[in-house]
Symmetry: C2
Subunit: 396 residues, 2 copies
């Protein structure tokens, strides 16, 4: 093994092997091209970006400014500001009716920081981790970063693009350490009902594995509330974030709920790998749970729902097929097989020819990427309508 | 290898092997005890903390508030805000006379984020990395996090606690990938002169290795300016931070200067592991380079110098020996062998008996920790004098 790793560096000064297995975001290149076209005067409808278009709500902004005025610029404890950890615990109790002690909540630099801590704590070299394909690409790269092996399980419409206990039984082997899932999922927007989460938890528990659930799109669902995996057992790891529902993307703040036996290891990792999360952001986030903020967020959720309710049938009329039930997040995962057999080329053409930017399936895995694209409705309704008008003309 | 890793998890649900090799900050326990004593009404002089006691300068605070008011709360590009990368490049030219293209500068969540990117990009499993013992403990833990092996080189007063080309020759073997050094160093405050940096760079280059220099205490030196390793070749990796000289610890902002051939790999890692650094922090940091800010920082540097000039001889009078030349950072690395043969017990006693909190050698490595302690002069002169008065009485 050593020879294998050592030789290439000596030969060419190359980066570590893991970097060859970590893919870039293809959508970034598309975004760069979209921006170049805009700079040249073209009007582009952006439906490619995985970021809400709303600025951070005003009460959070004001709390951040007040924290700065009060000189809150020093390190916090590594696990986070105690009052913020408590506020998150209170939120779980109030919104979900689930008791999670504040001691189990670790504040991180976004969900990214939470995934770093979880995988650094759990992934051994060569350990295998099951996750859905299509899925959020970074998840498999966090596994790879810590020398684990991500095993993509092809999921489709028959299970609403979610992994099932039958999948776990089929794919689990002696090297498998755990299952990583997401609800609502990216790119599909598919939700896991509470009973399905509990069944997955059981399937993993029986095998002595770790169960990690990405809940960063919680709060952004349009049919039913999202059940949290924390209700299915205190041995489950949950990743969440202030980015999406709370609309604090650029602040880089999230959290990890850690099973109690791992708290000491996670604390050591947090001390050494991060020192702490952003202090102004943590103070600002205290305002995220205020009733006046929640009122703003719920208004915005209704706006997202309105966009979804417009866009989903409009895309179907254009010849796209809604592959997954669009229950949450702000994505529509569409089968574009009736329109093209090459979704990457198709997305490029839509951008170049009519200025409509969407994300090709390629970014989300290896399972039929060529016949899927992701539409994000994180842009205003008028712009969505404009994109649909352009596509109508283009496909005619 | 697999069996070795796999068995313990199945037996006990344990955290990954790497977590057993990552030490906690012992000073944190000391700090917790100090805070408990304070809560019980005791007066504690804090000389244990590796954080400047100055709040972030006012112009940076105002720039952060203005960014928030302007809705700068969305993601920036993964490599950082282009204007901040340019401002850092301009700073290298203005302060050091060194030309570093902005394209090589990657903005990160503190030096921690920079070390993550560098080691994720370079460290293969089982690769060996040379670093100084004593040294900043996180550096060896970043190596371990990515499955490399940190090799502590015992350094002492004979080389001002810095690694030399002779050390490199002695410790380098076929598994060695690189050298990580720091100037000014923590816990010693020792500086590397430009000629020594160049000699180390040559020693590493000859061996086809990577040279990574931690410059996070740059700007905080009291005899001479700190030369940057970037002047010694464009194949050198440099880590820096807005935390120490710019006094933005809690904002979590730093940067990594990347040799050009590795930029693409680093960008992929940044996209996947971080998405981006804090947006409000990046906008605020633009004000870090303004002349009015630099004027504040230079006043504060003079204050730190005054503290050092008081504390160093006062400690010598008490029986401590200055182990390293106190040239930079805000630390005095002291040989306490004339006062105790157990620095950990000694530090505990100073805290419990006279309310003086310092850091025992244990946190910085395995080379004679029992006869060394670190004093941080990141507290006001009056408080340093109070600590010295208490120790005078205690040692009498």
């Amino acid at each position: 093994m050593l020879e294998k790793y050592h030789a290439p560096r000596l030969a060419a000064g190359l980066a570590a092997s893991r970097t060859h297995d970590i893919a870039p975001f293809h959508v970034m290149e598309l975004l760069a091209r979209a921006q170049a076209l805009e700079a040249a005067g073209r009007d582009i409808v952006h439906m490619e970006v995985g970021e809400p278009d709303f600025p951070t709500p005003e009460p959070i902004i004001r709390a951040g400014q007040a924290a700065l005025a009060a000189g809150k610029t020093f390190y916090t404890p590594s696990l986070g500001l105690p009052e913020l950890r408590q506020a998150i615990a209170d939120f779980y109790r109030a919104r979900y009716g689930v008791a999670v002690p504040a001691t189990r909540i670790v504040v991180t630099a976004g969900a990214s920081g939470a995934l770093t801590l979880a995988l650094a704590c759990l992934a051994e070299p060569q350990s295998r981790w099951l996750l859905a394909d299509p899925g959020y690409p970074c998840n498999r790269h966090f596994v790879r970063a810590f020398e684990g092996e991500a095993v993509g399980i092809p999921v489709g419409a028959e299970n609403n693009f979610q992994i099932t206990p039958a999948h776990v039984a089929r794919y689990w082997d002696e090297r498998t350490y755990g299952l990583i899932t997401a609800s609502p999922a990216n790119p599909t927007g598919a939700l896991l009902p509470a009973a399905d989460i509990a069944a997955l938890a059981d399937a993993v528990r029986t095998r002595n594995g770790h169960f990690l659930v990405d809940e960063i799109y919680h709060g952004l669902s349009y049919e039913t509330d999202c059940p949290t995996a924390l209700a299915a057992g205190d041995d489950i790891w949950v990743v969440n974030s202030f980015s999406k529902y709370f609309q604090m993307t650029g602040w880089r703040l999230g959290w990890l709920v850690v099973p109690e036996p791992y708290l000491r290891a996670v604390e050591k990792l947090a001390q050494n790998l991060f020192i702490a999360a952003s202090t102004p952001a943590q103070h600002a986030a205290l305002a995220a749970f205020w009733p006046e903020t929640i009122a703003i967020l719920e208004t915005r959720r209704a706006i997202l729902r309105e966009r979804r309710d417009y866009l989903a049938p409009a895309l179907e009329k254009l010849g796209f097929k809604l592959a997954a039930k669009p229950q949450g997040a702000f994505y529509l995962w569409c089968d574009c097989g009736a329109l093209t057999d090459d979704s990457f080329k198709f997305a490029t053409q839509l951008l170049e020819d009519i200025g409509v930017a969407i994300t090709p399936g390629l970014d989300f895995g290896k399972h039929q990427p060529e016949r899927h694209v992701r539409f994000a409705y994180s842009t205003e309704l008028d712009r969505l309508k404009e994109a649909v008008r352009r596509m109508e003309g283009y496909f005619r």
